[in-house]
C-alpha cells in the first residue's frame, strides 16, 4: 500500500464524512459549514485527479459562492422569518425507504464503475493532436473556448438567465431598486480599509487568471468569481452600493460578455463556420471573449448573490 493510496483513501473517507454531516446535521448553519469544508476537500480530490482547472472552479464557485448563497439565505431566514432550519419530523418507514433508494443508487453506480474498462484514455489523444490549432496551450481552455465553445456560449446564457429568473421574483413595488439588503458597515472600520485595498489587487489577480488560463489553469469563470468576491467585499464594507437594477449601464455590463461570444460565433458563421476560430486569430479571439466574459460573469455573479431588492429590516 503506497502513501499516495493511503492519502486518497483518507481523503475519500473525509469526503464521505463531511457529506454525511452536511446532509444529516441538525443545525442548519453547521450543515452549511460542513458543506463548504466538503467543497474545499473536493478541490483537493481534483488536484489528485490532475484537474487543477476544476479544483479552482470547485473551490471558487462550488464551495465559495454556493456557500455564500447558502449562508446568506440562512441568515435571511433566521432574521426575517425566525426559521432556524428545523425540519419537520419524518416517520421511520419513509426514512428507511429513502435509505434503501440511496443505497441502491450508490450500489448500481459502483457496479457500473467496476464493469467499465480500465486504461481508457478518453479523448486525450484527439485533444493533444488538435491543441496546436486551438490557439491556446491549456487543453481545458481549448475544449471550453474552442472545441466545445457552443456549450460554453450556452452556459454563459444560462448564468445570465438565472439572474433574470431571480429578478422575476422581485415584488412589483420594488422593481428597479437596489438588489439585496442595504449594508450598514462603518466606512472607517477594518472592513472598509480592507475593501479599499482589495479592488486593485483583485483586479490584477483576475486579469492574470484569465491571461494565464490560455496556457495554464485558469479562465473566465474562475476570474469572474474572484472579481465578484472583491465587489461583494466592497459592498459589505459600505464603500459602494449595488447598482440599481434599472440602470442601463448595468444591463450592458451583463450582456457584453455573451454578446461578444455570440458575435464572434455569428461572424464565424458568415465566413463558413459558426463559432469557428481561424488558427491565426484563435488566441486573440479567445482572449477577447474571455475578458469580456469575465467582466459580465463577475457582474452577474455579484448580483446573483445579492438577490432581489428587499426593503430594509
Amino acid at each position: 500500500m503506497t502513501a499516495a493510496f493511503v492519502f486518497d483513501a483518507m481523503l475519500c473517507l473525509l469526503l464521505v464524512g463531511t457529506a454525511v454531516s452536511a446532509v444529516a446535521g441538525r443545525d442548519l448553519f453547521a450543515s452549511i459549514a460542513f458543506f463548504v469544508t466538503y467543497g474545499i476537500l473536493i478541490g483537493l480530490a481534483w488536484l489528485r485527479l490532475g484537474a487543477v482547472d476544476v479544483a479552482l472552479a470547485e473551490a471558487a464557485i462550488g464551495a465559495g459562492l454556493t456557500g455564500v448563497l447558502l449562508i446568506g439565505a440562512w441568515s435571511m431566514l433566521q432574521r426575517r422569518c425566525g426559521d432556524g432550519g428545523n425540519d419537520p419530523a419524518m416517520p421511520v418507514l419513509p426514512k428507511l425507504a429513502a435509505a434503501a433508494v440511496s443505497v441502491t443508487v450508490t450500489g448500481m453506480l459502483a457496479l457500473a464503475v467496476l464493469a467499465l474498462p480500465v486504461g481508457a484514455p478518453g479523448l486525450v489523444p484527439l485533444v493533444t493532436e488538435n491543441l496546436s490549432e486551438s490557439g491556446v496551450g491549456n487543453p481545458v481552455t481549448a475544449v471550453l473556448l474552442n472545441f466545445r465553445a457552443y456549450d460554453t456560449l450556452m452556459e454563459s446564457i444560462v448564468l445570465l438567465i438565472a439572474l433574470v429568473a431571480v429578478w422575476a421574483l422581485t415584488p412589483k413595488e420594488l422593481w428597479g431598486g437596489v438588489p439585496g439588503l442595504r449594508q450598514h458597515a462603518r466606512p472607517d472600520g477594518v472592513l472598509a480599509t480592507f475593501g479599499r485595498l482589495l479592488p486593485p489587487l483583485g483586479l490584477v489577480v483576475a486579469v492574470y487568471v484569465v491571461w494565464a488560463g490560455s496556457e495554464m489553469p485558469g479562465g473566465a469563470f474562475q476570474a469572474g468569481t474572484i472579481l465578484a468576491a472583491v465587489w461583494l467585499l466592497v459592498v459589505m464594507a459600505g464603500i459602494a452600493e449595488e447598482p440599481r437594477m434599472s440602470s442601463r449601464l448595468l444591463r450592458l455590463a451583463l450582456v457584453v460578455g455573451p454578446a461578444v461570444f455570440l458575435g464572434v460565433g455569428l461572424v464565424g458563421a458568415a465566413f463558413g463556420s459558426f463559432l469557428g476560430l481561424p488558427v491565426d486569430f484563435a488566441k486573440a479571439l479567445i482572449l477577447a471573449i474571455e475578458f469580456a466574459l469575465t467582466f459580465s460573469i463577475a457582474v452577474t455573479l455579484a448580483l446573483l448573490v445579492a438577490g432581489t431588492p428587499r426593503e430594509g429590516t
Binding site: 475519500c12 419537520p88 429513502a98 438565472a162 439572474l163
Partner: protein
C-alpha cells in the same frame, strides 16, 4: 487487487450521490434540499472526472474537466434561483417548507 486512483474516487463520487439523494428525500426544509442538491451535484462531477482519469499515464482527459466546469456554473445558476425561490416562499408562508410537507417539528 488494489483500487486505482480513478476507481477509488469514482466510488467515492457514487457514495456522495447516494448520501445526497438520502438528504434530498428525507429533509423537507427547502434550504437543506438545495444543499443536498449540491452534494449530489459534486458527487456526479467527481464521478465523471474520476472516470476520465483511468489512463493516468496518458494524462487526465480534459474534456470531462471542461464539462464539469460548465456543470459547476450551471449548478450554481440553478442554486441561485432555488435559493431566491426559497426565500420568497419563506417570506410568504413564514417557513422554508412546502405546506404539504409541514409536519410536526423534530
Amino acid at each position: 487487487m488494489m483500487l486505482s486512483t480513478a476507481t477509488l474516487y469514482a466510488l467515492c463520487g457514487a457514495a456522495m450521490i447516494g448520501i445526497g439523494v438520502y438528504g434530498f428525500i428525507v429533509r423537507a426544509h427547502l434550504l437543506r434540499r438545495v444543499l443536498a442538491f449540491n452534494v449530489i451535484g459534486s458527487g456526479v462531477f467527481l464521478f465523471l472526472g474520476a472516470l476520465g482519469y483511468r489512463a493516468p499515464q496518458a494524462g487526465a482527459d480534459p474534456v470531462p474537466h471542461a464539462l464539469i466546469i460548465t456543470g459547476i456554473v450551471v449548478a450554481l445558476s440553478l442554486t441561485a434561483l432555488a435559493v431566491a425561490l426559497v426565500l420568497k416562499h419563506a417570506e410568504e408562508a413564514g417557513r422554508a417548507v412546502l405546506p404539504e410537507e409541514d409536519r410536526e417539528e423534530t
